[in-house]
């Protein structure tokens, strides 16, 4: 496979994941805003924008935080390079670029959804449409992953697509946790203090983990439990441990297909070992924020190493 095509597949799935994660954040924010007073709601939207890493851009354009302004900025603002619209257009552009490396079913899943999303985002999204729009974006991701799983040859292209997905997903989870980490700290020092369960619900919702968490923890919400779930639970598909388990397999498969291991495999092995050996106590002892900063930097190094090992760029 061409290095440029591998790059296209990798980024196609990174952007897809990013668009989907943005939609999840909006969904969680909306849920919060609906259950809070206006002042708190404004805080929530500020936090949503910050979590998405779009604060500077947003504040350059808007002075206040309202739900409508926020989600329209995140969904369709032209000047926002991270909007869902920009992301999805890049997904499709990369799919076109890698057109002969993906199955017809995957291409059509992307292209058809792009037509729908482009249409839905051609006009400002009002309160009555926002949930629908968010659902469409999530469905687009589900369809693409379904087509990937059901129709793609298990060759290197498949593994580059998955590697892009898990690198991006891990980055997004780490960022969400890091933005909210200050909420965790008091509850750790003051055992038994009342937790803002709404806040935690939001964190869980933004990774679509609210149901899974409740299922596993029988309704008990505590900071340690949630962190353990999102960082170390290998059974939850949006935990760091799950992402790295999958990423490790994909990078191992790539090394096998190419007949040799690269720098990315080495970094991956180290990161994976660290994550498997850690307990949630170790993480809190080290400091959650410090842990997440290190994780994110390391995640970016693995992504760079993949690009290097497989000659993504000339």
């Amino acid at each position: 496979m061409l290095g440029r095509t591998a790059n296209g597949l990798f980024w196609m799935f990174r952007y897809l994941e990013r668009a989907e994660n943005t939609a999840r954040l909006i969904d969680a924010g909306l849920r919060m805003a609906l259950t809070r007073d206006l002042v708190t709601a404004e805080e929530e939207w500020r936090s949503v924008i910050a979590t998405a890493g779009q604060r500077a851009g947003y504040e350059a354009k808007h002075g206040t935080y309202t739900g409508n302004q926020t989600w329209n900025y995140m969904l369709r603002e032209k000047a926002n390079p991270s909007s869902v619209l920009s992301m999805f257009s890049l997904v499709r552009q990369n799919a076109r670029l890698a057109r002969n490396a993906i199955s017809g079913e995957l291409w059509e899943a992307i292209n058809e959804n792009w037509l729908v999303i482009e249409d839905q985002l051609s006009k400002p999204v009002g309160e009555n449409r926002v949930l629908d729009t968010v659902a469409t974006i999530r469905r687009a991701g589900t369809l693409a992953h379904g087509a990937l799983a059901g129709s793609m040859l298990r060759d290197e292209g498949y593994h580059f697509a998955r590697a892009g997905t898990f690198i991006e997903r891990a980055d997004s989870i780490a960022r969400i946790l890091d933005i909210k980490y200050y909420l965790l700290l008091p509850s750790l020092s003051y055992v038994g203090s009342s937790l803002d369960t709404g806040q935690w619900d939001q964190v869980l919702r933004s990774v679509s983990g609210d149901r899974a968490y409740r299922w596993l923890n029988a309704g008990q919400i505590d900071a340690r439990g949630i962190c353990e779930f999102l960082i170390l639970d290998e059974s939850f598909p949006r935990s760091l441990a799950f992402c790295y388990c999958a990423l490790r397999d994909d990078l191992a498969a790539l090394a096998r297909l190419h007949g040799s291991e690269g720098h990315s495999n080495m970094l991956m092995r180290d990161a994976d070992t660290r994550l498997t050996e850690l307990t949630i106590d170790d993480i809190f002892d080290q400091g959650l924020h410090e842990f997440l900063v290190e994780f994110t930097a390391n995640n970016a190094s693995i992504a760079d190493a993949i690009a290097n090992d497989y000659r993504f760029l000339a």
């Binding site: 061409l2 290095g3 440029r4 057109r99 002969n100 059509e108 190419h258 000659r311």
Partner: protein, 475 residues
């Protein structure tokens, strides 16, 4: 319209009865519910959008992807008609290939006084770098599109030869896919030659032209200018269907005397490059030094026999309309036979007598630029205003050798589906021809282009034309 009877209608005889080729189709059509057909018509467009069969247009703002309108009434050719066309096309294409070889070697045709030297000297597509060099397998024109027009039951003419980089074959394939998805019962009822193995034939034909240094399984790649090129969809489509890599210039470089592509496991040699990049952008060291689309040094590798470039650089000579006017002589010179497929009568404005005739009859003629394509820079006399004709006259007088003129042809019509039912529109036909060292392979079918505007004779998609599925009936 008073002129309707002047044109040959491929579906109906002048008395309104259905011609044989369309008998089965019309039998089916008459049983259809017109509301259902209208809905199907709308579905076809959705299908093309979903599949992403679009071409890019560059506006002021940003690139826009457009659909080429598709008409769901097929263009039907009988087995007998197709056999005759095939023989004529084979003859013409083998002559073209022999002509290319001669042009870049001894130029016997010029020595024999059958073709003026000036036509080569003034031809922009002529490449001195190709002189004395024979491409692998002796093949110059690996893929050719011969544009045909019809004026009567037995009257087919060649309108243009496309030996440079003919496009549109993806529409031949996708139009058929769309028709089969929309009307599967029709394909059970009417015996039609398949076109779907064109990509396999193309891959086979290209592999057969690989250089000697290639292994048992030659590596074929499609070279595209990139995703912003108007025909990018077709490039990606063909690469995908052939199981070939789709490369851009930046993926290729010369490594150890071979052209190699940057794969995830290092540089890997490419044996055959099906390039959809124009000659002048192929090699910045040889041609346009500013080209970012090509591969520095590829021409040296080519001349040393390290790679096959399809079509060969310099084949654009054949697309020149002044050369076209000599095609009857060219066919006879190289095959020793009279051409089976006639040319459209053509006046070369470089000749004084012809120029005079053309200037006297501008209102009735079609005048084309010698190097033009895509329906641009031409005058369709009968469809033009006095002012347009006079403006064109000035250009013509200014540079006569840049133009040729042809009579306004009575192009045949084939019905299209409109809101008011079937209505005749003018059509042409581009069959696709594959050339390998021991074979000329013509896929039974082709691209039928149709002028959607009533009375219009211009079928180019850039000028609002559409396409149809083209059926060749089985015996």
């Amino acid at each position: 319209m008073s002129g309707e009877a002047e044109f040959f209608n491929e579906m109906r005889e002048p008395d309104g009865s259905v011609r044989d080729a369309y008998a089965d189709y019309c039998g089916w059509f008459n049983d259809q519910d017109s509301k259902l057909l209208k809905r199907k018509h709308a579905e076809a467009e959705t299908n093309f959008r979903k599949t992403g069969i679009t071409f890019n247009v560059y506006g002021e703002d940003e690139a826009e992807e457009r659909l080429i309108p598709f008409d769901m009434v097929p263009r039907i050719i009988t087995a007998g008609e197709w056999r005759r066309l095939t023989r004529g096309i084979e003859q013409r294409v083998s002559a073209l290939n022999a002509f290319m070889h001669d042009l870049y070697h001894r130029q016997e045709i010029v020595r024999a006084g059958r073709l003026p030297q000036s036509l080569l000297r003034d031809n922009e597509a002529w490449l001195p770098n190709m002189v004395g060099f024979t491409p692998p397998g002796g093949v110059y024109t690996h893929i050719v599109g011969i544009d045909l027009v019809r004026t009567g039951p037995d009257e087919f003419f060649v309108l243009e030869d496309n030996a440079r980089t003919p496009s549109g074959v993806s529409y031949m394939l996708e139009n058929r896919e769309t028709m089969m998805a929309m009307f599967p019962e029709l394909f059970l009822r009417v015996p039609i030659e398949a076109v779907s193995d064109y990509p396999r034939r193309l891959a086979k034909s290209l592999a057969a032209c690989a250089p000697d240094c290639a292994g048992d399984k030659p590596v074929v790649a499609v070279l595209t200018p990139g995703i912003y090129n108007s025909a990018y969809f077709e490039h990606a489509f063909l690469a995908d269907q052939m199981g070939a890599e789709l490369v851009e210039g930046s993926d290729l470089r010369v490594v150890n005397g071979r052209v190699a592509m940057r794969t995830t496991s290092g540089y890997k040699a490419v044996d055959v490059i099906y390039r959809r990049v124009d000659d002048e952008f192929l090699d910045p060291l040889t041609f346009n030094p500013n080209s970012m689309l090509g591969v520095p040094g590829i021409m040296d590798v080519y001349r040393a026999g390290g790679v096959t470039i399809a079509n060969a650089p310099g084949t654009g000579v054949c697309d020149d309309k002044a050369i076209y006017s000599f095609m009857p002589e060219i066919v006879e010179f190289y095959t020793g036979e009279k051409p089976l497929l006639p040319n459209v009568e053509t006046w070369r404005c470089a000749d004084e007598d012809s120029l005079k005739y053309v200037l006297d009859n501008l209102g009735e003629l079609v005048v084309k630029e010698v190097h033009g394509s895509g329906g641009y820079g031409m005058l369709v006399g009968p469809a033009s205003t006095k002012k347009e004709i006079e403006e064109f006259r000035a250009k013509l007088v200014d540079n006569p050798s840049n133009y040729i003129a042809q009579p306004t042809l009575s192009l045949s019509t084939c019905p299209i589906f409109t809101k008011k039912g079937l209505a005749p529109r003018h059509v042409d036909l581009r069959p696709f021809v594959l050339v390998s060292p021991d074979k000329i392979d013509i896929t039974p079918g082709g691209l039928t282009r149709v002028a959607l505007k009533e009375g219009s004779l211009v079928v180019n998609s850039s000028q609002g034309g559409g396409t149809k599925d083209t059926w060749v009936l089985k015996d």
